[in-house]
Symmetry: C2
Subunit: 433 residues, 2 copies
């Protein structure tokens, strides 16, 4: 059979990895795909020293790739929203299939992109946009297609997980570990996207759409970072039998869909609590299958390339398929998306860990427990730590309660005369354990 | 679009689960597949009290289903080799696509079945045959299609993992836990298939074919069970920082393919060492992606049904695809299978744990280490345990060595006058850690 011709736009980390793996494993990939994948053109501003592009058809203008009549599949690996959006839309208009690793683009502009692709009868594949090399989109979209998905929870940002792992294993502070992550190249100079959960929220938005068949709604995701987690809270969590992970969580409830990224205390013995360093993992609960977990490297040149190329092979396989029989972009047929509402964060339910700094005075515990009791919030554990200071931390674990109620309780506790500063609150999830 | 008509053969545990999930999640599945999956006929000997088949088209003769001109896809869930083989071949001859959960059938007769399917231009899908609800075949065959797979290692028998978990957590003996597993329904009255590794070898045979593109060669798999593992060895492994798991391991080497099921000591902190109870997990190492792991329930009515139905949806999607663009049965195009040899077990390389019962007499350690040293086998750790008995266990960990050499060393050690009985040998794998 004729080779399939692809154009790579962007030859940075992921683009370079894709280029190299396509060349190195060309024979292995062709044995699977049934035809050769040929790199017809490369759009790049700067050469990548890891890639030998000698004799290749190279252009500085990525739009040349998107409009090249020879090309079947455009691989978008330039990142960002602006040029990437125009590039993908141009490729679609020109009848090209698109493979992208761009989570921000899909989370924010996916609905329009998929509508345009549907109209033009082309595929837009984006496995590499979530959890790097882990084939989680394929698993969720195809492997679990028999299930009503109940919930999913994922460690989907390697930088954040590296930081949380180091804080726990070595008792270090957030700022200290962040500086090391930046030195190691795991974190950007401006780490906001990673540590404040924006990157994870992009990925969670995509996973939730595929899980429940709802449109992409990144603007409705609740996002809370890990920058305020202290070494102290990490230690108290450990003493209580938990670990703090920066999780993206989405749950289907009778009231609507939860969509939230925040530090979360999970039981120590849970498999996901044992996912360390820069590794990613996604835990999925389906009504038929129960819990399955998918683990692997969430970033890096070749892990991400692995997902990009798997998408290319998948697209090759749909080239002769009837449009109606392709795997739909968001797992559910375009006309079959549900309008289930995404819940505001005060409507979610969760357990809570509270750290309350109190002046050591008789009666303070009684005041706190009365406030919680009045709101119907059940306490699972409470301890008053001994310190040398005048202020002592009161550590509390509650059973599951609506966040709205917890917010009211926290406001009332903070207003008590014996309480110092803000109450620290970390959500607790048992993840079916 | 017209509904797709399926016939279910066998309404036991998995058949019943498939029937119920297809009915319960009919709308969710149709929203994904783009058309309804209609149960046209059921072939069963005995009714399943968990299934309401009132008003359904039921027959006691499964071959009626395989030849029913109304039916598009035959779902084979009767198990075993004989009738199942004839049933699947009859369905193929009649131009039906087939979905099966039957690992023994695929591992032993897969090559002929796939050749017949190729000839008749139909699909035979078998996701449910390995690791129950975990979409591991899809991940390996499609999700990792960019990779040269280096090796894979899996806990692919829930009964065995339940037994090993109980032995470790509670210090119990094999026979004791086996009896409990039988009482709980996790193990059969005749547990041979599970505890001697035959079931795992069926599954490993399938995974290895898909990983490397080699024909199914169940007869070449090395199989060693867990029935000789003692509570003592479990304890010593723990002391050395390892856990004993019953793993299926397949590795691609320059000399050929390793294909082996045996008790294996793995580092305690490895994620796969923390997969407990009846759960399954498969760890895969690919040259681009690195390590990914897939975890979930390996058996049970609805987890297995989840995989069966995902296959049905996949087959529905290929109905209009060109034959050459379908995902090949064994991941690689039929003409592209490799003839890489499966290695005899004495040609594999591995680390070893040895437990040697010695009469406490000066010089015995020196004799043992001399034998190993002469063979070039490096010792990583050696301890002589203190006991009240006249015989003391010598516990040894070696570095990686060819099994052939280790067998010679063990024979020489057993021939020493101060050694009592057989040397206990457990292979040690670091799984890239």
């Amino acid at each position: 059979m004729k080779p399939v011709k692809v154009g790579i736009c962007g030859l940075g980390t992921v683009g370079g990895g894709t280029f190299n793996v396509l060349q190195r494993n060309a024979a292995e990939i062709a044995r699977r795909a049934g035809r050769r994948i040929q790199i017809e053109q490369i759009g790049m501003r700067r050469p990548n020293p890891a890639c030998d592009t000698k004799g290749m058809h190279v252009t500085a203008d990525v739009f040349e790739v998107a409009t090249n009549p020879e090309i079947d599949i455009v691989i978008e690996l330039i990142g960002g929203y602006d040029v990437a959006y125009k590039l993908v839309m141009t490729a679609i208009e020109n009848g090209k299939h698109v493979v992208t690793a761009n989570k921000a683009l899909i989370a924010v502009h996916g609905n329009e992109i998929f509508a345009a692709a549907q109209e033009k009868n082309v595929m837009v594949a984006f496995e590499a946009s979530v959890a790097g090399g882990i084939p989680i989109i394929k698993a969720l979209r195809e492997g679990l297609s028999a299930n009503k998905i109940n919930w999913l929870a994922g460690i989907i940002n390697g930088t954040g997980n590296f930081i949380m792992t180091e804080m726990r294993e070595k008792g270090r502070d957030f700022q200290d570990v962040l500086a090391e992550a930046q030195a190691l190249g795991y974190a950007e100079a401006d780490p906001t996207f990673d540590v404040e959960g924006i990157d994870a929220a992009h990925k969670l938005t995509i996973l939730a759409s595929i899980a429940y068949g709802i449109p992409l709604q990144f603007d409705k995701a609740y996002t809370e970072g890990i920058s305020r987690i202290t070494a102290e809270d990490v230690k108290y969590a450990e003493e209580l039998g938990y670990r703090i992970k920066h999780l993206g969580i989405s749950r289907r409830t009778a009231q609507g869909i939860e969509l939230r990224v925040h530090p979360t205390m999970v039981p120590q013995q849970a498999l996901i609590a044992n996912v360390n360093g820069v590794m990613n993992a996604v835990l999925v609960d389906g009504d038929a299958v129960g819990q399955t977990l998918y683990y692997g490297p969430g970033a890096g040149a070749e892990p991400t390339a692995s997902a990009v190329i798997a998408d290319v092979v998948d697209v090759v396989r749909t080239l002769t398929a009837d449009r109606d029989n392709r795997v739909p972009h968001l797992a559910f047929q375009p006309g079959e998306l549900s309008d289930a509402e995404v819940l505001p964060v005060d409507q979610i339910e969760s357990g809570y860990y509270l750290r309350i700094m109190a002046v050591e005075r008789p009666g303070v515990l009684a005041h706190i427990t009365r406030i919680l009791g009045d709101k119907g919030i059940n306490i699972e554990a409470i301890t008053q730590k001994q310190t040398e200071e005048a202020q002592v931390p009161v550590i509390l674990l509650t059973q599951s309660v609506k966040e709205e109620k917890m917010n009211q309780a926290i406001r009332e506790i903070e207003a008590l005369p014996d309480i110092v500063g803000e109450v620290v609150r970390i959500r607790v999830e048992h993840l079916g354990q």
